[in-house]
Symmetry: C2
Subunit: 148 residues, 2 copies
Protein backbone atom coordinates (compact mmCIF):
# COMPACT_ATOMS: atom_id res chain seq x y z
CA UNK A 1 0.00 0.00 0.00
CA UNK A 2 1.33 3.41 -0.96
CA UNK A 3 -0.02 4.95 2.24
CA UNK A 4 2.22 2.81 4.41
CA UNK A 5 5.35 4.06 2.70
CA UNK A 6 4.37 7.75 2.63
CA UNK A 7 2.75 8.51 5.99
CA UNK A 8 3.06 12.29 5.47
CA UNK A 9 1.32 12.41 2.09
CA UNK A 10 -2.14 13.96 1.81
CA UNK A 11 -4.71 11.10 1.90
CA UNK A 12 -7.02 12.93 -0.53
CA UNK A 13 -4.19 13.38 -3.02
CA UNK A 14 -3.26 9.71 -2.72
CA UNK A 15 -6.88 8.74 -3.24
CA UNK A 16 -7.00 10.76 -6.43
CA UNK A 17 -3.68 9.38 -7.62
CA UNK A 18 -4.98 5.82 -7.20
CA UNK A 19 -8.29 6.55 -8.82
CA UNK A 20 -9.22 4.59 -11.92
CA UNK A 21 -9.88 6.67 -15.03
CA UNK A 22 -12.26 4.70 -17.28
CA UNK A 23 -11.54 7.15 -20.11
CA UNK A 24 -7.76 6.61 -20.03
CA UNK A 25 -6.63 6.18 -23.63
CA UNK A 26 -3.65 6.88 -25.85
CA UNK A 27 -6.18 7.60 -28.61
CA UNK A 28 -7.55 10.73 -26.93
CA UNK A 29 -7.85 13.62 -29.38
CA UNK A 30 -6.95 11.39 -32.33
CA UNK A 31 -10.40 9.83 -32.68
CA UNK A 32 -13.81 11.15 -33.67
CA UNK A 33 -15.70 11.91 -30.38
CA UNK A 34 -18.65 9.71 -31.37
CA UNK A 35 -16.32 6.77 -32.00
CA UNK A 36 -14.56 7.39 -28.69
CA UNK A 37 -17.91 7.47 -26.92
CA UNK A 38 -18.84 4.09 -28.41
CA UNK A 39 -15.42 2.67 -27.47
CA UNK A 40 -15.74 3.87 -23.86
CA UNK A 41 -19.22 2.39 -23.63
CA UNK A 42 -17.93 -1.04 -24.68
CA UNK A 43 -14.92 -0.68 -22.37
CA UNK A 44 -17.14 -0.09 -19.37
CA UNK A 45 -18.63 -3.55 -20.02
CA UNK A 46 -15.14 -5.04 -20.24
CA UNK A 47 -14.31 -3.41 -16.90
CA UNK A 48 -17.37 -4.97 -15.31
CA UNK A 49 -16.43 -8.41 -16.66
CA UNK A 50 -12.87 -8.00 -15.37
CA UNK A 51 -14.00 -7.11 -11.85
CA UNK A 52 -16.29 -10.15 -11.87
CA UNK A 53 -13.43 -12.35 -13.07
CA UNK A 54 -11.09 -11.12 -10.32
CA UNK A 55 -13.61 -11.79 -7.55
CA UNK A 56 -14.52 -15.16 -9.04
CA UNK A 57 -10.88 -16.22 -9.32
CA UNK A 58 -10.27 -15.10 -5.73
CA UNK A 59 -13.12 -17.33 -4.61
CA UNK A 60 -11.89 -20.26 -6.72
CA UNK A 61 -8.46 -20.00 -5.10
CA UNK A 62 -10.04 -20.01 -1.66
CA UNK A 63 -11.64 -23.32 -2.55
CA UNK A 64 -8.51 -24.89 -4.03
CA UNK A 65 -6.73 -23.79 -0.87
CA UNK A 66 -9.11 -26.04 1.07
CA UNK A 67 -8.12 -28.91 -1.20
CA UNK A 68 -4.48 -28.07 -0.46
CA UNK A 69 -5.02 -28.30 3.28
CA UNK A 70 -6.95 -31.56 2.92
CA UNK A 71 -4.24 -33.10 0.77
CA UNK A 72 -1.47 -31.92 3.10
CA UNK A 73 -3.31 -33.27 6.13
CA UNK A 74 -3.78 -36.72 4.59
CA UNK A 75 -0.48 -36.83 2.69
CA UNK A 76 -2.19 -37.07 -0.70
CA UNK A 77 -0.24 -36.33 -3.89
CA UNK A 78 -0.71 -32.77 -5.27
CA UNK A 79 -1.58 -33.90 -8.80
CA UNK A 80 -4.53 -36.07 -9.83
CA UNK A 81 -4.15 -36.92 -13.54
CA UNK A 82 -7.56 -38.61 -13.94
CA UNK A 83 -9.27 -35.61 -12.36
CA UNK A 84 -7.35 -33.16 -14.58
CA UNK A 85 -8.23 -35.08 -17.76
CA UNK A 86 -11.92 -35.06 -16.82
CA UNK A 87 -11.78 -31.33 -16.03
CA UNK A 88 -10.16 -30.48 -19.36
CA UNK A 89 -12.63 -32.55 -21.39
CA UNK A 90 -15.55 -30.93 -19.57
CA UNK A 91 -14.23 -27.38 -19.99
CA UNK A 92 -13.66 -27.94 -23.71
CA UNK A 93 -17.27 -29.08 -24.07
CA UNK A 94 -18.57 -26.12 -22.07
CA UNK A 95 -16.45 -23.78 -24.18
CA UNK A 96 -18.02 -25.14 -27.37
CA UNK A 97 -21.47 -24.52 -25.92
CA UNK A 98 -20.47 -20.97 -25.00
CA UNK A 99 -18.94 -20.32 -28.44
CA UNK A 100 -15.49 -19.94 -26.89
CA UNK A 101 -12.41 -21.51 -28.51
CA UNK A 102 -12.01 -24.90 -26.71
CA UNK A 103 -8.23 -24.69 -27.15
CA UNK A 104 -8.30 -21.37 -25.30
CA UNK A 105 -10.42 -22.87 -22.51
CA UNK A 106 -7.85 -25.64 -22.09
CA UNK A 107 -4.98 -23.14 -22.08
CA UNK A 108 -6.88 -21.12 -19.50
CA UNK A 109 -7.34 -24.11 -17.17
CA UNK A 110 -3.66 -24.98 -17.53
CA UNK A 111 -2.79 -21.38 -16.69
CA UNK A 112 -4.82 -21.58 -13.49
CA UNK A 113 -3.42 -25.00 -12.61
CA UNK A 114 0.17 -23.81 -13.05
CA UNK A 115 -0.54 -20.99 -10.59
CA UNK A 116 -2.13 -23.43 -8.17
CA UNK A 117 0.84 -25.79 -8.38
CA UNK A 118 3.25 -22.86 -7.86
CA UNK A 119 1.43 -22.09 -4.60
CA UNK A 120 1.03 -25.69 -3.54
CA UNK A 121 4.64 -26.04 -2.52
CA UNK A 122 4.04 -23.38 0.15
CA UNK A 123 1.08 -25.17 1.69
CA UNK A 124 2.95 -28.45 1.78
CA UNK A 125 6.05 -26.91 3.35
CA UNK A 126 3.86 -25.02 5.78
CA UNK A 127 2.19 -28.24 6.83
CA UNK A 128 5.47 -30.02 7.35
CA UNK A 129 6.71 -27.15 9.51
CA UNK A 130 3.54 -27.29 11.62
CA UNK A 131 3.18 -31.02 11.94
CA UNK A 132 4.68 -30.95 15.41
CA UNK A 133 2.26 -28.45 16.93
CA UNK A 134 -1.04 -29.87 15.58
CA UNK A 135 -2.15 -26.58 14.05
CA UNK A 136 -2.96 -27.77 10.51
CA UNK A 137 -6.59 -26.70 11.01
CA UNK A 138 -5.52 -23.06 11.15
CA UNK A 139 -2.89 -22.50 8.48
CA UNK A 140 -1.20 -19.13 8.03
CA UNK A 141 -2.81 -16.49 5.79
CA UNK A 142 -0.46 -17.03 2.86
CA UNK A 143 -1.43 -17.11 -0.84
CA UNK A 144 -1.67 -20.87 -1.18
CA UNK A 145 -3.71 -23.11 -3.38
CA UNK A 146 -3.93 -26.54 -4.91
CA UNK A 147 -4.90 -28.06 -8.21
CA UNK A 148 -8.06 -29.58 -6.70
Amino acid sequence: MTEQHRPDADPAALEEENEYDPTASSLKGAVDPAVMEELLSIRSSIDNFDATLVYLLAERFKVTQRVGWLKAKHQLPPADPAREAAQIARLRRLAEEANLDPAFAEKFLNFIISEVIRHHQAISEDHQARQGDGSIEAPREAPTANQG
Copy 2:
Protein backbone atom coordinates in the same frame (compact mmCIF):
# COMPACT_ATOMS: atom_id res chain seq x y z
CA MET B 1 -17.50 -32.61 -32.77
CA THR B 2 -17.01 -36.34 -32.50
CA GLU B 3 -20.41 -36.97 -34.05
CA GLN B 4 -19.43 -35.33 -37.31
CA HIS B 5 -16.51 -37.67 -37.78
CA ARG B 6 -18.35 -40.86 -36.81
CA PRO B 7 -21.82 -40.63 -38.36
CA ASP B 8 -22.49 -44.37 -37.86
CA ALA B 9 -21.73 -44.45 -34.13
CA ASP B 10 -24.57 -44.99 -31.66
CA PRO B 11 -25.64 -41.54 -30.36
CA ALA B 12 -26.41 -42.93 -26.90
CA ALA B 13 -22.97 -44.52 -26.64
CA LEU B 14 -21.33 -41.27 -27.73
CA GLU B 15 -23.37 -39.37 -25.17
CA GLU B 16 -22.14 -41.67 -22.43
CA GLU B 17 -18.55 -41.53 -23.66
CA ASN B 18 -18.62 -37.71 -23.51
CA GLU B 19 -20.24 -37.62 -20.11
CA TYR B 20 -18.40 -35.86 -17.34
CA ASP B 21 -17.56 -37.94 -14.30
CA PRO B 22 -17.29 -35.60 -11.29
CA THR B 23 -15.75 -38.44 -9.26
CA ALA B 24 -12.91 -39.10 -11.72
CA SER B 25 -9.73 -39.43 -9.68
CA SER B 26 -6.41 -41.23 -9.73
CA LEU B 27 -6.73 -41.44 -5.95
CA LYS B 28 -9.72 -43.80 -6.03
CA GLY B 29 -9.29 -46.70 -3.63
CA ALA B 30 -6.14 -45.18 -2.16
CA VAL B 31 -7.93 -42.72 0.10
CA ASP B 32 -10.17 -43.02 3.11
CA PRO B 33 -13.82 -42.81 1.85
CA ALA B 34 -14.65 -39.92 4.19
CA VAL B 35 -11.68 -37.92 2.90
CA MET B 36 -12.66 -38.70 -0.69
CA GLU B 37 -16.19 -37.54 0.03
CA GLU B 38 -14.91 -34.23 1.38
CA LEU B 39 -12.59 -33.85 -1.62
CA LEU B 40 -15.43 -34.48 -4.09
CA SER B 41 -17.64 -31.99 -2.29
CA ILE B 42 -14.99 -29.26 -2.65
CA ARG B 43 -14.38 -30.27 -6.27
CA SER B 44 -18.03 -29.81 -7.15
CA SER B 45 -17.64 -26.16 -6.12
CA ILE B 46 -14.53 -25.85 -8.27
CA ASP B 47 -16.51 -27.28 -11.19
CA ASN B 48 -19.22 -24.68 -10.71
CA PHE B 49 -16.65 -21.88 -10.63
CA ASP B 50 -15.02 -23.21 -13.79
CA ALA B 51 -18.30 -23.32 -15.72
CA THR B 52 -19.00 -19.75 -14.63
CA LEU B 53 -15.51 -18.68 -15.72
CA VAL B 54 -15.92 -20.25 -19.16
CA TYR B 55 -19.25 -18.55 -19.82
CA LEU B 56 -17.94 -15.24 -18.48
CA LEU B 57 -14.82 -15.39 -20.63
CA ALA B 58 -16.95 -16.23 -23.67
CA GLU B 59 -19.01 -13.12 -23.02
CA ARG B 60 -15.93 -10.97 -22.47
CA PHE B 61 -14.52 -12.08 -25.82
CA LYS B 62 -17.80 -11.20 -27.53
CA VAL B 63 -17.39 -7.68 -26.20
CA THR B 64 -13.73 -7.31 -27.16
CA GLN B 65 -14.74 -8.54 -30.61
CA ARG B 66 -16.97 -5.47 -30.89
CA VAL B 67 -13.97 -3.31 -30.04
CA GLY B 68 -12.05 -5.11 -32.78
CA TRP B 69 -14.71 -4.32 -35.38
CA LEU B 70 -14.87 -0.70 -34.25
CA LYS B 71 -11.11 -0.30 -34.44
CA ALA B 72 -10.91 -2.00 -37.83
CA LYS B 73 -13.72 0.16 -39.22
CA HIS B 74 -12.04 3.39 -38.09
CA GLN B 75 -8.45 2.29 -38.67
CA LEU B 76 -7.51 2.65 -35.01
CA PRO B 77 -4.33 1.01 -33.68
CA PRO B 78 -4.89 -2.37 -31.93
CA ALA B 79 -2.98 -1.42 -28.77
CA ASP B 80 -3.81 1.42 -26.38
CA PRO B 81 -0.98 1.67 -23.81
CA ALA B 82 -2.68 4.27 -21.57
CA ARG B 83 -5.80 2.12 -21.39
CA GLU B 84 -3.80 -1.03 -20.62
CA ALA B 85 -1.86 0.70 -17.82
CA ALA B 86 -5.12 1.91 -16.24
CA GLN B 87 -6.66 -1.57 -16.54
CA ILE B 88 -3.67 -3.24 -14.88
CA ALA B 89 -3.55 -0.74 -11.99
CA ARG B 90 -7.29 -1.18 -11.41
CA LEU B 91 -7.16 -4.99 -11.51
CA ARG B 92 -4.27 -5.06 -9.05
CA ARG B 93 -6.30 -2.90 -6.65
CA LEU B 94 -9.38 -5.08 -7.06
CA ALA B 95 -7.26 -8.18 -6.48
CA GLU B 96 -6.00 -6.77 -3.18
CA GLU B 97 -9.58 -6.13 -2.10
CA ALA B 98 -10.53 -9.69 -3.05
CA ASN B 99 -7.50 -11.16 -1.25
CA LEU B 100 -6.09 -12.41 -4.55
CA ASP B 101 -2.38 -12.05 -5.37
CA PRO B 102 -2.15 -8.76 -7.40
CA ALA B 103 0.76 -10.18 -9.40
CA PHE B 104 -1.46 -13.08 -10.42
CA ALA B 105 -4.25 -10.71 -11.43
CA GLU B 106 -1.82 -8.82 -13.65
CA LYS B 107 -0.52 -12.07 -15.17
CA PHE B 108 -4.12 -13.11 -15.77
CA LEU B 109 -4.95 -9.89 -17.61
CA ASN B 110 -1.81 -10.23 -19.72
CA PHE B 111 -2.81 -13.81 -20.52
CA ILE B 112 -6.21 -12.65 -21.76
CA ILE B 113 -4.69 -9.73 -23.68
CA SER B 114 -2.22 -11.99 -25.44
CA GLU B 115 -5.11 -14.18 -26.62
CA VAL B 116 -7.01 -11.11 -27.76
CA ILE B 117 -4.02 -9.81 -29.71
CA ARG B 118 -3.51 -13.23 -31.29
CA HIS B 119 -7.08 -13.03 -32.61
CA HIS B 120 -6.88 -9.38 -33.55
CA GLN B 121 -4.81 -10.04 -36.63
CA ALA B 122 -7.70 -12.07 -38.04
CA ILE B 123 -10.27 -9.31 -37.58
CA SER B 124 -7.99 -6.75 -39.17
CA GLU B 125 -7.18 -8.98 -42.16
CA ASP B 126 -10.84 -9.85 -42.48
CA HIS B 127 -11.74 -6.17 -42.60
CA GLN B 128 -9.13 -5.41 -45.22
CA ALA B 129 -10.46 -8.25 -47.37
CA ARG B 130 -14.01 -6.91 -47.04
CA GLN B 131 -13.32 -3.23 -47.47
CA GLY B 132 -14.44 -3.34 -51.10
CA ASP B 133 -17.90 -4.82 -50.48
CA GLY B 134 -19.01 -2.61 -47.56
CA SER B 135 -19.83 -5.58 -45.32
CA ILE B 136 -17.84 -4.62 -42.20
CA GLU B 137 -21.08 -4.43 -40.19
CA ALA B 138 -21.55 -8.18 -40.57
CA PRO B 139 -18.16 -9.82 -40.08
CA ARG B 140 -17.69 -13.56 -40.39
CA GLU B 141 -18.31 -15.79 -37.37
CA ALA B 142 -14.63 -16.37 -36.60
CA PRO B 143 -13.05 -16.44 -33.14
CA THR B 144 -11.81 -12.86 -33.14
CA ALA B 145 -11.22 -10.36 -30.41
CA ASN B 146 -9.34 -7.22 -29.49
CA GLN B 147 -7.51 -5.88 -26.51
CA GLY B 148 -10.25 -3.30 -25.91
